[in-house]
């Protein structure tokens, strides 16, 4: 099953490689990974999406907790959480009809066109991963020049917070 794990990590050199190294050493998979400093510059927040049986997910969270640089973590699947991903897609956009259709689809998906040339658009979009996947599918591989995605970010609903 797919799990999203949010981790507060010491913002020090090498901390990220400890997390990544743990996954490769123990043959766990990382589906996506995003990391950036928080409001406290000594702390990074890392959001990691992985898949595995319940036993494997339990081991993953325990092993992560064992890393000395991990301050706290939470498996977002254990509560109600909001997940978002940012994507930018560069698409071929030639001819009035095609350009109009692309703009319309982008609009339906809540995307914005942030760069325009005579033959291309860049569409910026946020949403959960399924929505972004659906947009890519809708546009079709033939028209896509390049895709860049941030990886998943997640946060618990309500007042409960993950803090150092």
């Amino acid at each position: 099953m797919r799990h999203t794990i949010s981790i507060l990590l010491e913002n020090t050199a090498g901390a990220l490689s400890r997390v990544a190294g743990l996954f490769s050493a123990r043959a766990y998979n990382i589906e996506s990974l995003s990391v950036a400093p928080t409001e406290d510059p000594t702390v990074s927040r890392l959001t990691l999406v992985t898949r595995g049986s319940p036993e494997m997910i339990e081991q993953i969270t325990k092993q992560l907790n064992k890393l000395v640089d991990v301050i706290r973590l939470i498996d977002l699947n254990e509560g109600r959480a909001i997940e978002r991903e940012l994507m930018m897609v560069k698409v071929r956009a030639i001819g009035g009809e095609q350009r109009e259709e692309l703009a319309r689809i982008a609009d339906i998906y809540g995307g914005r066109i942030v760069d325009v040339t005579e033959s291309s658009y860049i569409v910026e979009m946020t949403g959960d991963s399924d929505k972004l996947d659906a947009f890519i599918e809708m546009i079709g591989a033939k028209r896509i020049l390049e895709v860049v995605r941030s990886g998943v970010l997640g946060i618990l609903r309500g007042t409960k917070a993950l803090r150092a």
């Binding site: 090498g14 050493a25 092993q63």
Partner: protein, 576 residues
């Protein structure tokens, strides 16, 4: 009062303030400032090894025997990479160790400088934690943190990488009394509710089994374990790492368990209804096929590492906490409940165990004209009164030592259990002998393992370490040969030891005493003579029966009750 010191001085002062007795090391370019400071003092005894692997194993042996952290200093590049095997060995067995590696100056890091290697990157998967010290201001506090992390919680090796310029720069020296790491708070107190639940389950058992591992040794909980087992009168088995935590000569002890465990221990594991796992981690060498593991048991698992719980085997009552604390609390509750030990003469479970014991699974041919390796270990046990520190290398000799030397005390049996590192025995024995100069220290080895760190014989001469090396020489990598005999149709691919040295001359060339023993009737006398030479290292080359195998044996993929027994063992009984 603080003073301004150079990094190298800070290093030495911090180690002194930390109470470090021995520093196992080997100099090189990146650590020359530090070696210059070591030259100027005599509080810390530096032990010059002959290879960095030897330094790590020696520090490891010291740590296992004393419970104090082992400390190592090596240079950058090859110094660090040579230390990796020893670091990984300590990591797998949760041994507290602090390894300082020199590093090229900070401005050269990443430049492929001479003797540069990414020590942090290389050691990351086999350390509990590691630190790169980027500024001299961070040096003292990092050393404090390193010792704290290495020795607390589930212990393990910590690497501190120190660039050369950090040892040259100056700052004010203050060694912190304590450190607080917000992201590292090991939990040593077991959950009271869980302990209560465990006590109920334990007291209600009909076919109980106490299975304990290295955690009991590491947490100095042998007395608590012994009290616990005696309050209940339950049978006890130890893992390879746990030997000595419960007295092996006690009637409640039914031998080691696992791949080469006793028939009675493995059978009792298979048939028990309550399994009490203490400081053990359900390693594959213990469990055999997980699908067949302890099919009738409710399992209580006490361990300081939450990640060890339900990793391989689902447990019913997990207790995260220090083994010592949790056992003390359990003992208190058992005493409050006025629990009576089961009567070993009348209890049906004990009768069953006694019946399994009648198989005498560790029996071997005592009439052979060849030296039986088991006989050498039994003779060693008698000669040393069962009271020696015994280190070992890895292979058949290790298993025989574990099976036939009856350890009555913890920290006496010192071997590389998790990583299985050949070459461990001799340097580990150096660490033990340095810690306990007046104690008997034996290194049980084989002719293949022994030569892997043979260079340390020089270190032994330099520091007058009268280690007694018991080499079971069968002219094979015995355990490899055994597997090839069983599972590869006797195709002995590269498992023989051709072109062996003359070990007597080899010992003499290094300035020690060598003996070759070829007849069974000479074994006792040779050991007695060797141990009478209290000041000398003696290498005893026992020419043993080449065909001997380690029994019982659970083959890979088999259940605990599916053992190979020694040929000639009574086989008319139902093994399953």
């Amino acid at each position: 009062m603080s003073e301004t010191l150079r990094g190298a001085e800070i290093f030495v002062r911090a180690l002194i303030d930390e109470g470090v007795e021995f520093l196992f090391g080997y100099p090189g370019g990146a650590v020359l400032h530090i070696y210059d400071e070591l030259y100027k003092q005599d509080t810390i005894k530096h032990i010059l090894v002959r290879h960095e692997q030897g330094a790590t194993h020696a520090a490891d042996g010291y740590a296992r025997a004393t419970g104090k952290p082992g400390v190592v200093l090596v240079t950058s590049g090859p110094g660090a990479t040579n230390a990796v095997t020893g670091i990984a060995t300590a990591y797998m067995d949760s041994i507290p160790m602090v390894v300082f590696t020199g590093q090229v100056p900070t401005h050269l890091i990443g430049n492929d400088a001479f003797q540069e290697v990414d020590s942090i990157g290389i050691t990351r998967p086999c350390v509990k934690h590691n630190f790169l010290v980027e500024r001299v201001e961070d040096l003292a506090v990092t050393i404090k943190k390193a010792f704290y992390v290495a020795t607390s919680g589930r212990p393990g090796p910590v690497v501190v990488d120190i660039p050369k310029d950090v040892t040259a720069n100056t700052t004010e020296y203050v060694y912190p009394e304590t450190v607080d790491i917000r992201s590292y708070k090991p939990n040593t107190r077991g959950h009271p509710g869980q302990i209560k639940k465990a006590a109920q389950l334990i007291m209600g058992a009909e076919r109980p089994m106490i299975y304990t591992g290295g955690g009991v040794v590491i947490d100095n909980a042998a007395n608590e374990l012994t009290q616990f087992a005696r309050l209940l009168g339950y049978p006890v088995t130890n893992t390879l790492m746990g030997l000595g935590a419960y007295p092996a000569t006690d009637p409640q002890f039914i031998g080691m368990l696992g791949m080469h465990g006793t028939y009675e221990s493995n059978m009792a594991m298979h048939h028990c209804d309550v399994l009490i796992a203490i400081g053990a981690r359900f390693d594959d060498r213990v469990t055999g096929d997980l699908a067949k593991f302890c099919p009738y048991a409710k399992i209580v698992h006490i361990d300081i590492d939450p990640a060890s719980i339900s990793k391989n085997v689902r447990v019913d009552v997990p207790i995260v906490g220090g083994v010592n604390n949790v056992l003390s609390e359990l003992n208190r509750q058992l005493q409050e409940a006025h629990v009576k030990p089961v009567d070993r003469d009348t209890n049906a479970w004990w009768k069953q165990i006694r019946d399994w014991q009648k198989l005498d699974c560790l029996r071997y041919d005592k009439t052979s004209k060849l030296i039986k390796p088991q006989a050498v270990i039994e003779s060693l046990w008698r000669e040393t009164g069962g009271d020696a520190y015994v280190t070992s290398d890895v292979g058949q000799h290790q298993m025989w030592a574990a099976q036939y030397y009856k350890f009555d005390q913890p920290r006496r049996w010192i071997n590389s259990g998790g990583l299985g590192t050949m070459g461990f025995g001799l340097p580990a024995a150096m660490g033990v002998q340095l810690a306990f100069p007046d104690s008997q220290v034996a290194c049980v080895t084989g002719e293949a393992s022994f030569v892997m760190c043979v260079q340390e014989l020089s270190t032994c001469l330099q520091y007058d370490l009268p280690i007694k090396i018991v080499s079971l020489n069968n002219r094979y990598m015995g355990m490899v040969r055994q597997w090839q005999e069983f599972f590869y149709d006797r195709r002995y691919s590269h498992s023989y030891m051709d072109a062996l040295p003359d070990f007597v001359k080899l010992a003499e060339a290094f300035g020690h005493v060598g003996m070759r023993i070829e007849k069974p009737e000479d074994v006792d006398g040779a050991l007695h003579e060797a141990f009478s030479m209290k000041k000398r290292l003696v290498l005893m080359d026992f020419i043993t029966d080449q065909s001997e195998n380690v029994y019982p044996m659970i083959a890979a993929g088999k259940g605990q009750h599916e053992m190979h027994l020694a040929p000639g063992t009574e086989t008319d009984r139902e093994l399953a």
